[in-house]
């Protein structure tokens, strides 16, 4: 249908995204308490959810077992939700309209007593035309599809919808009893399969489980593993049914109005709703079709501020050119940035250089660089959009009136400039967007992407074809350790990082490691002095291709930063001695066993000095380059309000 609409409109068709903020899908946990035995078994399930930081909805049967209203109030006060689950759960609550009318007063009485706004029919018995008569804000008695229920069928959608003035929330994951008892499954694989299906398409994963059946250890453990998998998923809106209901009403009461060349949400959902565009196609073909509508080739400005950015921003140059988009590259003369670019044959316009420590100095240098960039771009021809990880670029883009996309994979960096310049932050989905929101960034300026920025760095790189860097003669049995000291000029630098670096080097010296020292600043070689080296370390004094360098060592020890992530991405044992606030990406890499975060000098003994095994690429999102390109060159994106979800829907 959208494909037809796009053809008619002759341009991408806007719509309000299904979920608020930076969320791309919804996960809703609900329970039906069928019998007294279920009511007696609430605590293990509640504790399991509390331990994951989750809350759920509990649908209770008012007249089948004794319910302690004080306990119900305590659950509600704790953030759980209570719904009404029929009256007697005898298979007859919705048997006929006469029965409904007879039982409704007692149902309504329970709803008032518990403050319930939602209804779940026992055994999912339902008559769509009767449900609004029950007087609830929402109903959740209909599966999207379920041929195994006594009332087989389903509403065939995985999104909420209105049934008259009642919101219907479809149950979209198979119920526990159906899955484990009727269909004889043994684990949560089917829940995960469907949840991933819905996650990919931006649907609502609504699960209905029962404490009556969760007493079965097998089902309980499966539920626990399911929660493990999604409790930290930053892309998911983990909401209660009543919250989904309220959002759906705000969304339905809002509309889109043109604003400049884009669209603005008007109504109660403004501030949390996102506008998405559908172009009716998908993938690369879609990108090209959008591009072909441009009267002149689009121009994307890429600003590169430091050596790691050469690695993950430069791949965009060729990729943009492949879809007919021109690029202009600017750079800062910092570290080996310019040398690396020149080595790759890239002619970049260079503005600014090493700034050093001091907030005032940084602000002044950043402002000056922004001014120079703006002046250059006015002269050279205004680009359509900027892609960078650079505050001066964001400021210049704001002055030029063009959209700015900033890649950020460390959430504790200062994002005030991005906020003031109305930049859109592209961040890995493992980062909780709430961290940015707390810094004042609007939710519609946040786009979570699957994977890591290292997916950009290694896009199209044939690791096997690259020879290891020649680090000279390595003493026999010595383990090769690449060591990267902290950046002492970053605004999040703490002196403790340098102390920790020195302690780490001392430990490596004592253990007889062969250290390859990669300083960020030549002065940092002082860290090597006066230590009991068994094997004299070598210091890198010129830029070395990073893959080649990483392949030449057994272990990488870094004070945070890109090198740690690149090593972890390639499966090289990676240790972080970063003493500032740890980012979500590093925590995630540790969680999946690809990095180890060393908190204190006492833990330095946990660095394992052994020869490494073969490389093992992570490839967390091989399509990331293409996905970000689609975001950046989308016409609507250039008018600023867009999320990545459309682009993931292929």
């Amino acid at each position: 249908m959208f494909a037809i609409l796009v053809e008619i409109a002759g341009e991408p068709v806007p719509y309000i995204a299904a979920w608020p903020g930076g969320h791309t899908w919804a996960l809703v946990l609900t329970h039906d308490v069928e019998r007294a035995t279920g009511w007696a078994e609430l605590d293990p399930v509640l504790d399991l959810e509390r331990s994951h930081g989750l809350r759920s909805s509990w649908n209770l049967v008012p007249q089948r077992y004794e319910i302690d209203d004080d306990y119900v109030r305590a659950l509600v006060a704790e953030g759980f939700e209570i719904g009404v689950h029929g009256l007697h759960h005898d298979g007859r609550d919705l048997e006929s309209l006469a029965t409904v009318r007879k039982r409704l007063p007692a149902i309504r009485d329970a709803a008032e007593r518990w403050g319930a706004v939602g209804f779940r029919s026992p055994a999912m018995h339902r008559h769509p035309e009767w449900m609004p008569l029950l007087g609830f804000d929402y109903d959740s008695s209909c599966p999207d599809t379920d041929p195994f229920e006594p009332q087989a069928g389903g509403c065939c959608t995985w999104l909420p919808f209105f049934n008259q003035d009642m919101v219907e929330l479809p149950v979209t994951l198979t119920q526990d009893h159906t899955l484990f008892v009727i269909l004889r499954h043994n684990d949560e694989a089917e829940w995960v399969r469907k949840a991933e299906f819905l996650r990919k398409r931006g649907g609502m994963a609504l699960l209905d489980t029962h404490p009556d059946y969760l007493v079965d250890e097998r089902i309980f453990r499966a539920y626990g593993r399911f929660l493990d998998r999604y409790a930290q998923d930053a892309t998911a809106w983990r909401a209660l049914p009543r919250e989904i209901n309220a959002w759906w009403r705000r969304r339905a009461a809002s509309h889109l109005e043109p604003q400049g060349a884009g669209w603005q949400v008007i109504g109660p959902a403004d501030g949390e709703a996102r506008v998405e565009l559908c172009d009716g196609g998908g993938g690369e073909q879609r990108v090209r079709r959008l591009q072909s509508r441009e009267a002149k080739p689009m121009k994307v400005w890429i600003d590169i501020e430091n050596p790691p950015q050469v690695q993950y921003l430069l791949p965009f140059r060729e990729a943009f050119q492949a879809v007919g988009v021109d690029t202009v590259i600017t750079a800062r003369d910092y570290g080996s940035t310019v040398e690396m670019l020149e080595g790759l044959g890239i002619e970049a316009e260079v503005f600014g250089g090493l700034v050093g420590r001091g907030k005032l100095r940084k602000v002044a240098a950043g402002g000056l660089r922004a001014f120079e960039l703006e002046r250059f771009l006015v002269r050279a021809g205004k680009p359509d959009v900027v892609l960078a990880a650079s505050r001066p670029a964001a400021m210049a883009a704001w002055r030029l009136g063009i959209p700015s996309y900033q890649i950020a994979d460390y959430e504790h960096a200062d994002v005030r400039i991005a906020r003031f310049t109305d930049s859109t932050i592209l961040h890995p989905e493992v980062i909780d967007p709430a961290v940015f929101v707390r810094q004042g960034v609007r939710t519609d300026r946040l786009i979570a992407f699957k994977g890591l920025k290292e997916d950009l760095t290694f896009a199209g790189v044939d690791i096997d074809a690259i020879a290891p860097y020649d680090i000279g003669i390595v003493p026999e049995h010595a383990v090769r350790v690449l060591f990267r000291p902290p950046s002492e000029t970053s605004h999040y630098y703490q002196r403790a990082s340098t102390t920790m670096a020195r302690a780490t080097l001392e430990r490596l010296a004592q253990a007889g490691a062969f250290v390859v020292f990669s300083p960020r600043d030549p002065k940092q070689v002082a860290l090597l002095e006066g230590l009991p080296w068994r094997h004299r370390p070598i210091t890198l004094t010129r830029p070395v291709p990073f893959v080649s360098l990483l392949k030449s060592v057994d272990v990488v020890v870094c004070s945070g930063g890109t090198m740690l992530r690149e090593a972890a991405y390639l499966g090289i044992p990676a240790y972080s001695i970063f003493r500032s606030e740890i980012g979500a990406v590093d925590r995630w890499l540790e969680h999946i066993g690809r990095a180890k975060l060393i908190a204190t000098s006492k833990d330095l003994s946990s660095i394992e000095l052994t020869p490494r095994g073969p490389l093992d690429r992570l490839d967390s999102n091989p399509q990331l380059l293409e996905e970000i390109i689609a975001i950046v060159i989308s016409p609507a994106a250039r008018t600023s309000r867009l999320s990545s979800r459309l682009l993931k829907r292929r």
Binding site: M1, I4, L5, E7, I8, A9, G10, V13, P14, Y15, I16, D90, G91, R92, E95, H125, R126, P128, E129, C142, D144, T145, P147, F148, P150, Q151, A152, G153, G154, C155, C156, T157, W158, F161, N163, E168, T178, V181, I182, L183, F197, R251, A252, S254, H255, L256, E257, P258, W263
Partner: protein
């Protein structure tokens, strides 16, 4: 962005901007156009078509298709309706019945317009309301099934648990439910 001859559930649902402007004269056809003009999406007004049926809009490859449950207008009626409009029209996609028999077609106009032989709102609402079960089985079969279910629940306290589970493991005949299931997960 669009102008429609009546409210459209699909656009309301996705909050896609459009205005409603009733046509001055009735033509038996509803339409949605871009505000800038050009091609249009057309469909028959309510009452033009026969009672709702289970059908499938065939895919471009003739194999895969989208199941729909709605009233559809035959090609004869479509030609007659489209004949009142300018430009040439030709059938582009076939709509087949439950047994694969051709029922109607989606028509394309030379200006890029598209004519659906059914009301898109009706398709959506028949899914949401599960009316498709009634359309596929017929109202009598549905009523019989409801009565059977009521009987089952009265009898259930007497049935052994193993029998109850056996009955659940042998669900109702696929037919429209398979249609729905396919649609929902594809």
């Amino acid at each position: 962005m669009f102008v429609s001859s009546r409210r459209l559930t699909f656009l309301d649902y996705f909050r896609t901007p459009y205005q409603v402007a009733r046509p001055v004269t009735g033509s038996g056809i509803e339409q949605l156009k871009a505000r800038a003009g050009g091609a249009a999406l057309l469909w028959p007004i309510a009452g033009t078509a026969s009672p709702a049926v289970a059908a499938t809009v065939q895919g471009a490859d003739g194999e895969t298709g989208i199941p729909i449950f709605a009233s559809v207008v035959s090609d004869d009626i479509a030609e007659s309706l489209l004949g009142e409009r300018s430009g040439r029209w030709s059938p582009a996609r076939t709509v087949v019945g439950a047994h694969g028999e051709p029922l109607a077609a989606i028509w394309h106009g030379e200006d890029g317009s598209v004519f659906l032989p059914f009301d898109p709102d009706e398709v959506i609402v028949n899914y949401w309301s599960e009316r498709y079960t009634q359309i596929a089985r017929g109202p009598h079969a549905r009523r019989f099934r409801q009565e059977l279910m009521a009987f089952y629940y009265r009898l259930r306290p007497l049935l052994p648990r193993s029998l109850q589970i056996w009955l659940r493991r042998h669900p109702s005949p696929a037919g429209p439910l398979r249609h729905a299931s396919t649609n929902s997960s594809s």
